[in-house]
């Protein structure tokens, strides 16, 4: 129990204390130096702005969250299917996978405007952009996970004359789940970036849109208010994935903990 609370403090408490200290320092310094608000507003002003605009911020945050989650879901679904196919078929490995790996190095944000042409200005292009940016992390990690199975494990299955489908489903897939979660932890943040990029390109809603409008009005305080909400959403999404991993992969979490203590 004492171990548990010490660990919890190490994981959550320490970063939190650091963050609070930074905010206090920021507040103190900007009061001391009288930094103008349109350059860098004080934290206390940002908090007031969040409270004042809470309805509007919530409305826009929900829109962005929607695009992010749908894009992320699409990326996971597509990514897992692609990865399984790539691992199963040598042809796809040499063509599709090689292509995906090289495409991953180009800045995908640059093709976001294309999606507006293809899919219009509604929610769909944002979902598509979010999915496109996030899917690479899923495919690459999942392919690695599916491949890194101990060959003896495959031989064990072969010794019982397991079908290819059962080898995938009962051995490769569960073995790859930790890698999939590693990919999802990256992909969830990428999906949020994708959603915001989509809103930057063309939108009349969402936190990205809110930031653009505030910028147009030189309202730095509101920009920071939106950024604060955006960061909170990003953190919450990331920890939701971490929480899901704890729930679904207890063996992985326990093993990681055991090797960290060793």
């Amino acid at each position: 129990m004492r171990h548990g609370s010490a660990r919890l403090f190490g994981n959550v408490g320490l970063p939190l204390v650091t963050a609070i200290a930074c905010v206090l320092l920021w507040e103190g310094l900007s009061r001391l130096m009288g930094t103008p608000e349109y350059l860098l507003p004080r934290p206390s002003r940002i908090v007031t702005a969040i409270v004042d605009d809470s309805g509007l911020l919530l409305f826009n945050a929900v829109y962005t969250l929607q695009a992010t989650l749908l894009g992320f879901g699409l990326a996971v679904l597509l990514g897992v299917i692609l990865a399984v196919l790539i691992v199963q078929f040598k042809f796809l490995d040499q063509t599709l996978y090689t292509l995906l790996v090289s495409l991953n190095s180009i800045p995908k944000v640059a093709i976001a405007p294309l999606f507006i042409i293809w899919l219009g200005t509604g929610l769909n292009p944002k979902i598509a952009i979010a999915a496109m940016i996030a899917v690479f992390a899923i495919v690459i990690d999942m392919v690695h996970g599916l491949r890194s199975v101990d060959p003896d494990m495959i031989d064990l299955a072969r010794s019982a004359r397991a079908s290819a489908a059962k080898i995938i489903w009962k051995i490769r897939f569960p073995h790859a789940l930790p890698a999939l979660f590693a990919g999802m932890k990256v992909a969830i943040s990428l999906a949020l970036i994708g959603a915001i990029v989509g809103e930057f390109v063309a939108s009349n809603r969402g936190l990205g849109y809110f930031i653009l409008v505030s910028q147009g009005q030189f309202d730095t305080v509101r920009m920071f208010a939106a950024l604060t909400i955006l960061s909170t959403v990003g953190l919450a999404l990331f920890y939701a994935v971490v929480g899901a991993e704890h729930l679904l992969l207890p063996w992985q979490v326990a093993r990681r903990r055991a090797s960290a203590n060793a």
Binding site: D150, R158, S159, A160, K166, R255
Partner: protein, 277 residues
């Protein structure tokens, strides 16, 4: 699977009269080839194993014991020669075979019980038919209170016991074991030797059992195969004519000591063991 067993039956009856050899290894050679050159692991291995026999294989590390076992299992293919089971050539893993690997290969995401039931799932057998037997086996191997634990919560010896339970769950006709007890302490090893003897008396599985422990090899076996260094060859095959079931005390008997002496003598002649002063 039931269909296959029914089909096999008439053939089995025929073959029982003249030669009841379950496993025939005939002139098997295995050379591993890679970019860095080729490595001759097995040279001209021939061996006949009768149905229900327990054969121990001893030999120095790297002499090709695992390679031989993998060829028999149909997981690897000989470069030359042929292996046949019940008269038909092995081209892939046969039906109704159990295998214990040198390293226990347990699935981290499955409980002990679910690991034991894994192979029945691969064979498409209904879980509920096997769950009681799996529990009983785990109890026999001293793991009754661990069936809901995960592999990483077990010691090395316990993990290996789980992998043995998994291999023998459906009483395979052919049982291949690659140093299953290497990670165990002497007491546990004795205990499991007795359990394995009881089980194999009952199931009558044809068994190939690899070990580095000469005492264990003799205690369990009807025949002990002694292998020479790489390229792996069979140096000699010794019969163990001690009636079964055997008690641990046979190890102090004259017959047992004589076979042990012959095994050691063979290793000395091959220059693998240093001659005793």
């Amino acid at each position: 699977m039931t269909a296959a067993v029914v089909e096999m039956r008439p053939e089995r009856r025929l073959s029982e009269k003249p030669t009841s050899d379950h496993l025939v290894i005939d002139g098997v050679c295995k050379t591993y080839r890679s970019q860095r050159g080729s490595l001759e692991a097995l040279r001209d291995i021939s061996l006949r194993v009768r149905a229900g026999a327990f054969v121990s294989i001893v030999g120095p590390s790297g002499c090709g014991k695992t390679t031989l076992l993998r060829c028999v299992a149909g997981l690897d293919h000989p470069t030359a020669g042929e292996i046949s089971l019940k008269g038909s050539a092995v081209s892939g893993p046969p039906d109704n075979m159990g295998m214990v690997f040198q390293r226990d290969v347990l699935l981290d995401w499955r409980t002990v019980l679910d690991n034991v039931l894994l192979l029945t799932e691969f064979r498409g057998l209904p879980r509920r038919d096997w769950i009681d037997r799996a529990r009983r086996l785990l109890a026999v191997f001293g793991l009754a209170s661990f069936e809901d634990r995960y592999p990483w919560e077990l010691s090395g010896g316990m993990r290996q016991r789980v992998s043995i339970c998994r291999a023998i769950l459906d009483e395979p006709e052919l049982l291949l074991m690659d140093e299953p007890f290497a990670a165990l302490d002497a007491f546990t090893r004795d205990e499991l030797n007795l359990e394995l003897q009881t089980l194999s008396q009952r199931t009558q599985s044809t068994t190939l059992f690899i070990t580095h422990n000469i005492g264990e090899a003799i205690f369990l076996a009807d025949q002990v195969v002694v292998m020479d260094r790489r390229p792996g060859r069979i140096a000699t095959v010794l019969d163990v004519d001690i009636p079964k079931p055997r008690a641990l005390s046979v190890r102090e008997g004259r017959a047992f000591a004589e076979i042990g002496r012959q095994v050691r003598q063979t290793f000395e002649d091959l220059g693998i063991l240093r001659a005793s002063p």
